[in-house]
C-alpha cells in the first residue's frame, strides 16, 4: 500500500504491527507481551487453545477493545483504536465466525447491506440494482467464487461459501487487512478447503491476513508466520520455513504437557504404543 520500505530489510512497512501488546480486564491479565507484524500479501496465523487469548487479540486489532501495554501500529503509525468503525476506516476488516449475513436475502443485497449504492435524485433516488448485481458477481469472481446466480438467498449457500462471500465483501469495501476469527471451525474438510483457498486468493491480491484458529493443519496450509499463544502470552513465533507441521501441532497442544499426557495415557492402556515420545 503506501509502502515506505524500511531501511533495513527493504520489505514494505507492516500494515499492522503489535509490539509487546498486553490487555488486562481488572486484575486479570488476558494478554501479555504479544508481538506480530502483518505485511501485504502475508498470512499470519495466530494459534492457541481455548482461553489462550486469541479472541482478546482479535478484539484489540478490530477496535472493539483498547490495549493497555505495548505499541499497536497501523502503516507504521502508532494508534489506539476506539471503535470497530475506526478500524474499518483504516482498512482492517474482521470477519467473525457467526457471520453478519441475513440468510433470506439475496447474495447481492447482503453484499452491499449498509453500504448500498444509489442512483437518480429526488423521489427517483433508488438502489443501483444493476450495478449491485454486476459488482457482486465481479467481486466474487475476482476471489475465484463463481456464483451463477447472485439472486439466490445467501442462506442457500454452504457455510464455506458464505464465509468466502464475507471475505470478498471485506476486500471489496477497501480492507487491506482481514482478520478471520476461526473461519474453518464449524466446517467440514471440503468446506474448510474452500475457505482456505479464498484466504490464499485474498493474500495473492496483496492483502494482509490474520488467521486466528486452533487448527494447526489448516494454519500450516496457508500461513507465512505462526504466532503461538498460551495462557495469554506468546509461546512462540515461527516463520514458515522454520517449522514443520508436526512440531507446530506439538507446540500448539502444549509441548511437554502433551508428552506427559502421552505417558500417562500409555500407563493406563499399556498395549497402546507411545507414539508421542520425544
Amino acid at each position: 500500500m503506501n509502502g515506505t520500505p524500511t531501511a533495513a530489510a527493504g520489505s514494505p512497512t507492516a500494515l499492522v504491527e503489535l509490539a509487546g501488546v498486553g490487555k488486562r480486564y481488572g486484575n486479570v491479565t488476558a494478554l501479555e507481551g504479544v508481538s506480530l507484524a502483518v505485511r501485504p500479501g502475508e498470512v499470519v496465523c495466530v494459534l492457541g487453545d481455548n482461553g489462550a487469548g486469541k479472541s482478546t487479540l482479535i478484539k484489540i486489532v478490530s477496535g472493539l477493545h483498547r490495549h493497555d501495554d505495548g505499541v499497536f501500529r497501523i502503516d507504521g503509525e502508532e494508534v489506539r483504536l476506539t471503535s470497530p468503525r475506526e478500524a474499518l476506516d483504516r482498512g482492517i476488516a474482521t470477519v467473525y465466525q457467526d457471520l453478519a449475513v441475513v440468510p433470506l436475502m439475496p447474495v447481492w443485497r447482503n453484499f452491499f447491506l449498509g453500504s448500498e449504492p444509489v442512483t437518480g435524485r429526488g423521489p427517483l433516488r433508488r438502489l443501483d440494482t444493476a450495478a449491485m448485481r454486476r459488482t457482486t458477481r465481479e467481486a466474487l469472481l475476482r476471489m475465484g467464487i463463481d456464483l451463477r446466480d447472485v439472486d439466490q438467498p445467501i442462506g442457500t449457500l454452504s457455510g464455506g461459501e458464505r464465509q468466502s462471500v464475507a471475505i470478498a465483501r471485506a476486500v471489496h469495501f477497501g480492507a487491506r487487512v482481514i482478520v478471520l476469527d476461526e473461519p474453518t471451525a464449524a466446517l467440514g474438510v471440503k468446506q474448510a478447503g474452500v475457505v482456505l483457498r479464498y484466504v490464499a486468493a485474498a493474500r495473492d491480491q496483496g492483502l494482509g491476513v490474520v488467521l486466528v484458529t486452533h487448527n494447526p493443519h489448516h494454519a500450516h496450509l496457508v500461513g507465512d508466520r505462526f504466532v503461538l499463544l498460551r495462557r495469554g502470552s506468546m509461546a512462540g513465533s515461527h516463520a514458515r520455513e522454520e517449522i514443520v507441521l508436526d512440531e507446530l501441532t506439538r507446540q500448539m497442544a502444549g509441548g511437554s504437557d502433551l508428552d506427559r499426557l502421552g505417558h500417562e495415557l500409555a500407563r493406563i492402556r499399556p498395549s497402546e504404543p507411545d507414539r508421542k515420545a520425544p
Binding site: L99, A100, P103, L113, V118, R126, L127, D146, G155, A200
Partner: protein, 346 residues
C-alpha cells in the same frame, strides 16, 4: 492459487439455478389462492363477475388492503402491530371531534388527525426500541389503551358512543371527494379507496425493492444483529415502519369518517388480525425478513372476494369468518410448502 473454475461450476450446477426463483416469490401462494376463490365464486354466485359485483369486491379489498400493505412491511421488518385496527377509529374520531367541537372546516380536523395518528405509531416504535419488549406486548397495550380512549373520550366529549354528524360542515364535500368518493374509470364505477390502495401497494413495493430503506427493512426482520453490525439503523427502521402503519391508519380513518359521516367509537376491534391475516396469506413470514407488499394486496383481495362472494351467493354471512380461517391455514401451509421446496432444491 484461486479455486479451479471447473469445481466451482460443478458446485453451482448442483445448486440448480433459475427454476427455483419463481416458486420462491412470496406472493405465489396467495395468487394461486385468489384464482381459486375467484373461480369458485364466479361459479357459485350470480352477479359476482358483473362490473357492479367486482366493484364491490374491490372496494372491500381496498379497505383492508390500505392497512394490510404497511402491516406487511412491518411484519417483513420482524414486528407486529395489534393496535392497527383501533388506530383507524382513533384517527377518524380525532378528525371528526376536532372539527365539530371547534366548529372548524373539516380539513382542519383532517390535518390535526394526521400528526396525532402518526404520534401513536411513533409511540409504538419508540417504546419498542427503548424497552426491547416484544412488539406483541407493547402493541397489545396500545390496542387496549386506544380501545378505552376511543370510547371514554367520545362519551366524555359528546355524551354518546358515536360522534355527531359533520355532513353539513364546511369542507365536508371536498374531503369526501378525496377520501370517500366514487370515480368512473372506463364506464366502471369505482370507490376512490381503490386508488389509495393501489398507490400504497406501488409505493410500498418501490420502497421494499428499490430503496436502501427497503434493504434495511428486510435485513432488520431477517437478522437484526447482522444488520446493526454493518451499520443499518435498525431502531430507526422499526420506528419508521410503525409510523407507516399509522399513516395508513390515518387514510383509512378519514375514509371511515367521510363515507359514513358519523364514527362509532367502538369500531375497529378485531380488524388488526384481519390485516395480519391478509399479510400472512400474502406470504409474509411471521418471523420477519420475508414477504411482499403485492402479496398482502392479494391477501386483501382474497378477503374482499370471500366477504362479498358469500353475499352474492346468498349464503349466511356468518360463514365468512370460517372461510377466512380455513383460507389462512391453507395459504400458510401452501406458502410453507413452497418455501421448503425452494430451499430443498438448493
Amino acid at each position: 492459487m484461486t479455486a479451479t473454475p471447473a469445481a466451482l461450476a460443478e458446485d453451482a450446477a448442483e445448486r440448480g439455478p433459475v427454476a427455483r426463483r419463481l416458486p420462491a416469490r412470496p406472493e405465489l401462494g396467495a395468487v394461486v389462492g385468489a384464482a381459486a376463490v375467484l373461480v369458485f365464486f364466479a361459479l357459485a354466485a350470480d352477479g359476482f363477475l358483473r362490473p357492479a359485483g367486482l366493484g364491490t369486491v374491490l372496494y372491500a379489498a381496498s379497505t383492508i388492503g390500505i392497512m394490510a400493505v404497511p402491516v406487511a412491511l412491518l411484519m417483513i421488518g420482524g414486528e407486529f402491530d395489534l393496535s392497527a385496527g383501533v388506530m383507524v377509529t382513533s384517527s377518524a374520531l380525532v378528525s371528526s371531534m376536532f372539527s365539530y367541537q371547534m366548529t372548524a372546516n373539516t380539513w382542519v380536523g383532517v390535518a390535526v388527525s394526521l400528526p396525532v395518528t402518526l404520534a401513536i405509531g411513533f409511540f409504538n416504535g419508540w417504546t419498542l426500541t427503548r424497552t426491547r419488549l416484544p412488539s406483541f406486548i407493547i402493541t397489545l397495550g396500545t390496542f387496549l389503551m386506544l380501545t378505552g380512549l376511543n370510547l371514554g373520550l367520545t362519551k366524555l366529549i359528546g355524551g354518546t358512543v358515536s360522534t355527531r354528524a359533520i355532513g353539513d360542515m364546511e369542507g365536508f364535500d371536498s374531503a369526501r371527494a378525496v377520501f370517500a368518493s366514487d370515480i368512473t374509470v372506463g364506464g366502471f364505477q369505482l370507490r376512490i379507496t381503490i386508488v389509495w390502495w393501489l398507490a400504497l401497494v406501488a409505493a410500498a413495493t418501490w420502497i421494499l425493492l428499490r430503496t436502501r430503506a427497503g434493504n434495511w427493512i428486510f435485513a432488520t426482520g431477517g437478522n437484526a444483529e447482522a444488520a446493526r453490525a454493518v451499520g443499518v439503523p435498525v431502531d430507526r427502521v422499526r420506528i419508521g415502519l410503525y409510523t407507516g402503519v399509522a399513516l395508513a391508519a390515518w387514510i383509512s380513518g378519514q375514509h371511515l369518517l367521510f363515507s359514513y359521516d358519523v364514527v362509532q367509537s367502538g369500531e375497529g376491534v378485531g380488524n388488526e388480525l384481519i390485516y395480519i391475516a391478509a399479510a400472512v396469506i400474502g406470504g409474509c413470514l411471521l418471523t420477519g425478513g420475508y414477504g411482499s407488499a403485492a402479496g398482502a394486496a392479494v391477501g386483501a383481495l382474497i378477503f374482499g372476494m370471500t366477504s362479498k362472494g358469500i353475499v352474492y351467493a346468498q349464503w349466511d354471512p356468518s360463514w365468512f369468518k370460517f372461510f377466512l380461517g380455513a383460507m389462512l391455514l391453507l395459504a400458510t401451509l401452501l406458502n410453507a410448502w413452497i418455501r421448503k421446496r425452494a430451499e430443498a432444491s438448493s
